[in-house]
Symmetry: C2
């Protein structure tokens, strides 16, 4: 009747489409890591000759653009309530949730230089939350810059989760820390003591760090806003 049980019959492979290519690339990167994603490997995954991809994707760069496009497009459009601090916080945490689902998303997004429609929409929506809260256009502009890649939900990693070097050199480095880097050693010690139950070794609570930094910035913006801050008027404040 059909091809079930007969491995020699070609699978009725679904026709290729840009969306199918991009989604396959995403799950391939999820499973195998972004560094092992190649046009040839992806074509193989799709049971297709490499050249067939170029009908739906202009180049590998375009493929990567399309991959982040999908993920950014999936960011939840959290509702605006008119309380801009709350609204912005919610929206950015939604972005964080979307992007954290793919371990490679941060690196790829940071490597992109093109602006895609979904990225523009997200940025426009986020700016709109500030403007709806009554912030001036100028202040909103500067705040968007100030958020940095935090607007995508990223917090700086001080020490990579998995040091690339082998364990012995990692241990050597850690043992040498107190002598040569007393300040970092103190911080690391306090972080480890403070979170004895997290049990993640030298890591930090990324979510807590993210929210601390986000609130720090939003508070500063609130201050600038109520102070009716304007650009080029005040110059640098004395300190």
């Amino acid at each position: 009747m059909d091809a079930v049980g007969d491995p020699n019959v070609a699978k009725p492979r679904a026709p290729l489409s840009r969306d199918r290519v991009l989604r396959c690339a995403i799950s391939y990167a999820d499973v195998n890591g972004i560094e092992s994603l190649s046009m040839r490997g992806l074509a193989n995954e799709l049971d297709v000759v490499p050249m067939a991809l170029y009908k739906h994707v202009a180049s590998k760069e375009d493929l990567l653009d399309g991959m982040v496009e999908i993920i950014v497009g999936e960011i939840e459009q959290t509702p605006g309530t008119g309380h801009w601090e709350h609204d912005v916080r919610l929206r950015i945490l939604a972005a964080r949730a979307s992007l954290l689902r793919h371990s490679w998303a941060r690196a790829v997004l940071e490597s992109r230089t093109a602006m895609t429609p979904a990225m523009l929409s997200y940025l426009d929506g986020l700016s709109g939350l500030f403007l709806a809260g009554g912030l001036s256009v100028d202040l909103t502009h500067h705040v968007m810059h100030a958020l940095g890649n935090r607007m995508w939900g990223f917090s700086q990693e001080l020490f990579a989760a998995t040091p690339r070097s082998d364990t012995e050199s990692f241990n050597a480095q850690r043992d040498a820390l107190p002598a040569h880097h007393p300040n970092l050693a103190a911080i690391a010690r306090a972080a480890l003591q403070g979170d004895p139950d997290s049990g993640r070794g030298p890591g930090c609570d990324a979510q807590a760090e993210f929210e601390f930094a986000l609130d720090l910035i939003l508070d500063g913006v609130q201050t600038r806003h109520t102070d009716r801050w304007t650009p080029r008027r005040q110059g640098r404040r004395s300190r």
Copy 2:
């Protein structure tokens, strides 16, 4: 007497060293762009067989680590005066100055996952400025995260300086901006009106944006510091 004027005599090529390899790679990337830096091309630049590089550099990853290592190592060790806001500001602007000298530095630094000695030293020195100013170890820890890649002197680029796509699609995108992205359009319009003399098209004053964001964060830290902020005590503030 010597080889001057005789092109057939082999140049007495300086013996290779890790430092010479790294510095040649840096200036090669400065001139030709990081994307066209290859082990083979670098070897060719040094009049050497590709394999010879592997005596001084374990891999291309190690080469890139070494390149940022040199640049980070060149960050000026600005003096500490005990006024931590001033000291931190100065040190971070010094980092910015060093890294901005190489257009590829930001991308490469952000792609690194390993911690190198020079990076550790810089981080230790920067933390030390906060601690010397009387900030608690905990607050210093969180602030280091909050600075994000701003601690290296980077500000978020909202729109890449040179859109990768061709000019016509760029124009099409810009013309479609007001209709679909009213908030971004308002920001772009204000930015262009506000800086009529900068004449850099749709760009922003990166230095001004950087200092705005840096001061925003440092002010917030000052507030947390004088409020004797401690972690896990206050949880989220109501809003």
